[in-house]
């Protein structure tokens, strides 16, 4: 752990705030015009998800937290727990489902992604922005609905429904945006 000045804070850093590890989700510097410099921040407690807003003086000292980043490969799911493996050491890791924030529905076996670890606990994940998945169920487009509904729902291999253009057929590979859940293109 190292002490840094608040004017070095950046979005994406991890700091201790009120003894809790927090991710800096927003950090803006401002000068009240007739005053000295301040850092207006929004921080998210990585354990509880609570969000704090706090304004630091730019020369306040803040404790930055060492976060370990490890690339892991997905193995399987058991209830709310997801199992991953370090592809180099073959060590296995348990990851609680909640850190995926709903994106776990796009997890495919052997998918690799980076995890943030704090004191041995997974606190965040950089989920791939796009995933390539196979369309497992798709109905043929019927002629009648081409005018008002140029899209149709299909089921992808992870069991999630995605709206795709009418030309997409069963068995094809498509790319899906994991942020929005929208179809991007054919793979």
């Amino acid at each position: 752990m190292t002490l840094i000045k608040a004017n070095q804070l950046k979005t994406g850093m991890f700091v201790l705030y009120k003894d809790q590890p927090c991710a800096v989700v927003k950090c803006e510097f401002y000068f009240p015009g007739k005053g000295s410099a301040f850092a207006r921040t929004k921080m998210k407690n990585v354990k509880t998800g609570n969000v704090y807003e706090y304004t630091f003086k730019s020369n306040d000292m803040v404790e930055s937290v060492d976060i370990e980043t490890t690339e892991l490969q997905y193995l399987y799911q058991d209830g709310e727990t997801f199992y991953f493996m370090n592809p180099r050491t073959f060590d296995q890791f348990e990851v609680p489902g909640k850190i995926f924030e709903g994106k776990e529905k796009y997890l495919l076996s052997e998918m690799k992604m980076f995890f943030n670890y704090y004191e041995g606990e997974a606190i965040g994940v950089r989920f791939p922005l796009k995933v390539t998945v196979k369309v497992s169920e798709a109905q043929e487009a019927s002629a009648g609905n081409t005018v008002n509904a140029p899209k149709k729902p299909v089921i992808i291999e992870t069991g999630v429904e995605v709206l795709v253009p009418l030309f997409v057929k069963e068995g094809e590979m498509i790319i899906v945006d994991t942020e929005t859940g929208e179809y991007v293109s054919r793979a």
């Binding site: 301040f38 003086k57 020369n59």
Partner: protein, 342 residues
């Protein structure tokens, strides 16, 4: 939206006898605010003469020279520049500023102007239509503006609160404590703010403002926070209680929309404050420049009693357009033209 807001602002002031004036963007010396960094450039002629030149951080001095020359009430919508601030959702280094000066008048005259202006712009953007009722985020009848999922009433009179009342109400700090350096720093320390030997009254005061007071202001409609400590208002007249200055700021939806003074008209006092500001600039390692002696001379000719205000037009546009970031109101935001290196 930007075009409509600016058209409405012009129409409002022209309908009330204000003259629109232009101010120079290339100056031999900018205004003296100690904490604002400026853009410095150089003017050359064909004889090889060179002059230092600056981009203005506000049009204030130029406008006051016009007022002293007898212009009457004036307004300008112009560009101003602030350097070295980093990028944020509320600032762009080059920004559009509206300043108006109401003479004869004072800071409370301008408060009424601002209330009228906001209503006028709102009505111009929401012409009375029956289909507006119900579904729309804006309600004309209640003068209710929707912004980022919340509603704000623009009806007059807006909430007005003195700075000392706000400190008492929201931070539990009384006037004596607020104005005393040692007492305020002591309270700040108890509240858990970091205090070192270099910590100043001004830093703790602003930190309490930012953390405990500003978030409580302007949550249902604009709030005018007025009568600032005299040290927080370099260009304002003193209030009845000489420890305070006739200055207000207006807050809404977490944005500071405007900063208003009863303008200081005393050239001797003004010169002293400018000199103190320039000395502070030197201490802070900001770009140094000479004092604008023309400005002081102009005040000696006699500046009329005037209330003046600076309003960030980009923020107003963001508010009326219901976007969270002023970059969304600009065709060419600075962050896109000067991308940060990754």
């Amino acid at each position: 939206m930007r075009e409509q807001v600016i058209d409405a602002i012009r129409a409002y002031f022209k309908g009330r006898g204000f003259h629109e004036v232009e101010v120079p963007l290339l100056l031999p010396t900018p205004s003296t605010e100690p904490f604002l960094e400026v853009f410095k450039t150089e003017l050359k002629d064909d004889q090889g003469n060179r002059w230092e030149a600056f981009l203005p951080s506000s049009p204030e001095f130029a406008l006051k020279k016009l007022l002293s020359a007898g212009s009457g009430s004036i307004f300008t919508i112009t560009k101003s520049f602030r350097n070295g601030e980093g990028q944020s959702s509320r600032h762009n280094p080059e920004f559009t500023i509206l300043e108006w000066y109401h003479t004869p008048g004072d800071y409370m005259t301008v408060a009424e102007d601002f209330e009228g202006l906001m209503r006028f712009v709102f009505k111009s953007l929401n012409p009375a239509r029956s289909d507006l009722a119900g579904s729309s985020r804006n309600s004309l009848q209640g003068l209710t503006l929707g912004y980022q999922g919340k509603k704000y009433g623009l009806k007059s009179p807006w909430e007005r609160i003195r700075v000392v009342e706000a400190f008492q109400k929201y931070a539990g700090i009384d006037t004596e404590t607020m104005l005393d350096e040692q007492k305020l720093i002591g309270v700040g320390k108890k509240k858990g703010y970091q205090v070192s030997e270099q910590t100043t009254w001004e830093e703790i005061w602003n930190q309490i403002m930012a953390n405990e007071i500003e978030p409580k202001l302007g949550t249902k409609g604009p709030t005018i926070l007025y009568d600032y400590p005299i040290t927080q208002a370099a260009l304002a007249k003193k209030a009845k209680d000489p420890r305070f200055a006739q200055r207000w700021e207006v807050f809404m939806a977490g944005l500071e929309l405007g900063n208003c003074f009863s303008e200081l008209t005393d050239p001797i006092e003004q010169e002293a404050r400018c000199k103190a500001d320039l000395a502070e600039r030197k201490c802070l390692g900001k770009t140094e420049f000479p004092m604008d002696s023309d400005f002081i001379e102009a005040l000696k000719m006699g500046m009329p009693e005037t209330g003046g205000i600076a309003v960030g037009v980009d923020r107003l546009v963001a508010l009326f357009a219901d976007v969270p970031d002023i970059a969304d109101t600009l065709f060419f935001p600075v962050g896109e033209m000067f991308p940060q290196e990754l």
